[in-house]
């Protein structure tokens, strides 16, 4: 089995659209199978502590004025439940794109709690994998997306699947993934 090439260790550092550092890892399993993993920054313990302290201080101040203990217990419950929901549903640890020539494409998101959500798209449905620009929240960003074929119109696009939604890498990272994907798609 071939070893993976770790592009995260090159001199080129990748960032996402907000400037936070991310890392890209490209693994070439065989001539027609490649896997790309974009990892975001992990949950930072200092941010967690800052948020927890802020919430508990506000709850204590409110308790100081209202003398209602329900404020304190509700603050604790809100903090715990909020953290659990965040790491299980919101915080994405890494996103993976696995391209297998003539078989299909697998897109997988792994969350901070370990939960993984995976989607597989057959190669017959895929028209192309392209880098598109679109307006997103008062900005224009580049994003990699899979164009799906329209069954009724062979040259048309029926729907779009955007990739790397949570990590949102910048153009240098996307171009690398794009060129690698196009090599595989051109073969099959």
């Amino acid at each position: 089995m071939q070893n993976g090439e770790h592009f995260g260790m090159e001199d080129e550092t990748y960032t996402d659209i907000d400037g936070k550092a991310i890392s890209l890892e490209c693994q070439s399993h065989s001539g027609f199978c490649r896997e790309f993993t974009v990892s975001s920054a992990k949950v930072s313990i200092s941010r967690v502590m800052v948020y927890t302290c802020a919430v508990w201080m506000t709850a204590y101040i409110i308790f100081f004025f209202t003398e209602n203990t329900a404020v304190l217990s509700s603050a604790i419950i809100i903090t715990l439940v909020g953290m659990m929901i965040h790491i299980h549903f919101v915080k994405v640890d890494h996103e993976t794109l696995l391209v297998i020539g003539s078989l299909g494409v697998q897109v997988s998101s792994s969350y901070a709690s370990g939960r993984e959500s995976t989607d597989f798209i057959e190669m017959d449905k895929i028209k192309d994998i392209v880098i598109n620009e679109a307006i997103h929240m008062q900005r224009v960003i580049y994003y990699l997306c899979i164009l799906l074929k329209d069954p009724s119109d062979p040259s048309g696009v029926s729907s779009v699947v955007p990739l790397f939604q949570s990590s949102k890498p910048r153009l240098n990272c996307l171009v690398k993934v794009y060129r690698s994907c196009q090599e595989i798609l051109a073969k099959c």
């Binding site: 028209k127 192309d128 392209v130 880098i131 598109n132 679109a134 307006i135 997103h136 929240m137 994003y143 997306c145 164009l147 119109d153 048309g156 696009v157 029926s158 729907s159 779009v160 699947v161 955007p162 939604q165 171009v175 794009y178 060129r179 196009q182």
Partner: protein, 128 residues
């Protein structure tokens, strides 16, 4: 053919002056209604006026409506922006329906929408 030019014309001068007089009269009437006490107006014989509360109410409502409209305009724009998963970012009904007529040799090609795959190949595949 009627020319649409913004130059001053006699009719426009008359419209402007009528509007000016009307707005000055309307403002004077508003001040009279807001400040003159009810008894004086009743003693003259003018009894059917709106409540004086509206002399404050209407301007405040209008200002609040302006502020809400600014916020809502921002929100409406965000709602109307196509999400990243929408086909409207790739193509639309006019690009799909364009005729691909082959151009003659040595002629400038017809203006058309280039597909996103070709654009990507030009930008990112060719070594630059």
């Amino acid at each position: 053919m009627v020319e649409n030019s913004p130059s001053p014309l006699p009719e426009r001068a008359i419209y402007g002056f009528v509007l000016f007089l009307g707005s000055q009269f309307g403002f004077f009437l508003y001040l009279v209604w807001a400040y003159v006490p009810e008894e004086w107006l009743h003693s003259i014989g003018l009894t059917y006026w709106p409540q004086k509360y509206w002399a404050i109410g209407v301007p405040v409502y209008l200002l609040a409506a302006v502020v809400v409209c600014v916020v809502m305009l921002f929100g409406v724009n965000m709602i109307n922006t196509a999400p990243l998963c929408s086909v409207d970012n790739i193509t639309d009904v006019y690009a799909r329906g364009q005729r691909m007529v082959d151009c003659q040799k040595r002629a400038i090609p017809r203006l058309k929408d280039v597909s996103i795959s070709d654009v990507n190949r030009m930008f990112y595949s060719s070594p630059q």
